[in-house]
């Protein structure tokens, strides 16, 4: 390779690196509470025993409230803010959202719970919810695909399609 070709190669490499670096710039803020990007970046948070004891207590209270359905939405909001790294919180919110008929939001919350702990899709696990998540995923996706053909999708709905496919991929198994 001549000097010139070397120079061109170097410029191309720098351009590639700059282009890839630009991927880190903030893109438009997601309109849904949970987007595919927040799923990708979700982190499990470890807790010390004291924190963990508090968390368990709050979670039990929330469970009772959700079952009784009084002010559940507000309490769950607080819990999600306080413990975003705990799968239990997202799964509980998902269950609540499902009972009030907000299927798309419920799906995204299940997705977040699965992302933090894949045991929800593990047949032998005590927290297995695979069948429930699978049928919800299929329903939501079917509705969205129908709507796409009829009238097109809003940006929020596009995000939910992505999340539904994320769950499809996880339901299909494979390495993590």
């Amino acid at each position: 390779m001549t000097k010139n070709a070397d120079r061109i190669a170097e410029i191309a490499i720098v351009a590639l690196l700059v282009f890839l670096g630009a991927q880190f710039l903030p893109s438009r803020t997601p309109t849904t509470e949970i987007s595919i990007n927040t799923l990708a970046g979700a982190r499990v948070k470890s807790m010390d025993p004291v924190e963990s004891a508090y968390f368990k207590k709050e979670l039990t209270q929330a469970r009772l409230v959700v079952d009784g359905d009084s002010d559940a939405a507000e309490i769950l909001e607080k819990l999600k803010k306080k413990y975003p790294g705990r799968h239990e919180v997202w799964a509980l919110s998902a269950r609540f959202l499902e009972t009030v008929g907000k299927n798309q939001e419920a799906l995204s919350h299940y997705a977040r719970a699965v992302r933090l702990n894949s045991d929800y899709l593990e047949k032998d696990s005590p927290i297995f919810l695979g069948h429930r998540i699978k049928s919800l995923t299929n329903n939501v996706l079917e509705d969205l695909i129908l709507k796409k053909r009829k009238s097109g999708l809003s940006p929020e709905e596009v995000e939910y399609v992505k999340i539904a496919y994320f769950l499809r991929r996880r339901l299909a198994g494979g390495c993590e």
């Binding site: 690196l17 880190f24 970046g41 494979g174």
Partner: protein, 353 residues
């Protein structure tokens, strides 16, 4: 086209064995589309040794031991076991780390690209393109006078046998002392073909690959460099046999959005495999080939493998590995660092000949 003979047939047999067992092992119990995946298996090994806390990815896969042990035994038997060392060890170690970093962001090693394609997963095409581009870049730089130093026989020939023997010893210990190594009870670690099948498949493939010198990135580099199709033919047979087995077993499902163990972020699928291709050329072979080379006594490959195990640990500790939701921010940063590292290796090893 001439009908290949001798080495050519061995290469095709290696491709056939890898394709058949790659698809069949997933059917017999390994995670879907991951019948054979060096990066997944290496991450599993790191987990089994307790080097990362994700027990879902903790299992000493008999296949991994089989590859290196099969190559080691056949090389010994065929008098091809020649301990050699002398390249830049630290440099190779870090290349090993980045081989796993790139693979984990793509979610699979170069062999798994082909296996995923063979199961109908078209997201792997971006990875294949990236891999080919990475090899091409690596070859360009090698041609323009990069010299990574040559191997000479080390003063102590035992050096070349250390890592293969450690793998064999670990495996025997894991059978003899249950509980010594960590074995995850959920997730991919719980999905495994029976040990006897895994080990025999591994030994067979390791032995064939030692004789045939099969290598995924080598297929591309020989094609680009010498218009030599012999290794590429093995790769094509791998694809065809994996596809055939998957169709026969009813696993084949063409698609992009809902494939197991994948994410549809094409940019990072391609970029991460570009890193793997580039790093593979600099390290002298794809992750699978490194195992076989280590079995042959190449000390530098042993060093790369130790780097790969460390890589298998940090990709989980630092959330570098992608999930079905896509690449993580840390993963993207790590791939960029890897590319910068490869360019630095090239930049500071340049020697005009």
């Amino acid at each position: 086209m001439k009908w290949p003979k001798g080495d050519g047939l061995l290469i095709m047999a290696s491709g056939l064995a890898l394709g058949f067992f790659g698809a069949a092992l997933a059917y017999w119990g390994n995670p879907a589309n991951s019948g054979i995946c060096i990066s997944c298996f290496t991450e599993n090994l790191a987990g089994a040794l307790g080097l990362h806390p994700n027990t879902r990815m903790a299992y000493l896969r008999p296949e991994l031991v089989g590859f290196i042990a099969g190559a080691f035994l056949v090389a010994l038997a065929g008098k091809e076991f020649r301990p050699r060392a002398g390249r830049l060890p630290v440099q190779g170690f870090i290349l090993g780390v980045f081989l796993i970093v790139g693979s984990s962001v793509f979610m699979g090693c170069p062999i798994k690209i082909i296996l995923r394609l063979g199961a109908g997963d078209m997201t792997a095409l971006a990875g294949l393109g990236g891999l080919a581009a990475g090899v091409f870049i690596g070859i360009r730089f090698l041609r323009s006078g990069l010299d990574l130093g040559n191997e000479t026989a080390p003063s102590a020939p035992f050096q070349g046998a250390i890592v293969p023997l450690i793998f064999i010893a670990l495996f025997i210990l894991s059978l003899a002392i249950p509980g010594l190594l960590i074995r995850g009870e959920t997730g991919p670690a719980a999905h495994a073909a029976p040990v006897a099948i895994s080990l025999s498949a591994g030994l067979l493939i390791g032995a064939l690959a030692q004789r045939s010198r099969f290598c995924v990135t080598g297929s591309f580099s020989n094609l680009f460099l010498a218009r030599d199709m012999s290794l590429m033919r093995g790769l094509l047979i791998l694809l065809v046999s994996a596809t055939a087995v998957n169709i026969y077993l009813g696993i084949f499902r063409m698609g992009m959005l809902d494939q197991p163990g994948s994410h549809p972020d094409y940019l990072w699928n391609g970029t991460s495999m570009l890193l793997v291709g580039f790093a593979s050329v600099l390290a002298g072979g794809c992750p699978f080939r490194q195992l076989v080379l280590a079995g042959e006594g190449l000390v530098d490959a042993s060093v790369v493998i130790v780097g790969m195990v460390v890589g298998g640990s940090i990709v989980h500790l630092w959330q570098i590995t992608s999930t079905a939701a896509g690449p993580t921010p840390a993963g993207k940063v790590a791939v960029l660092l890897g590319l910068i590292y490869c360019f630095a290796v090239v930049r500071f090893n340049r020697r005009e000949s």
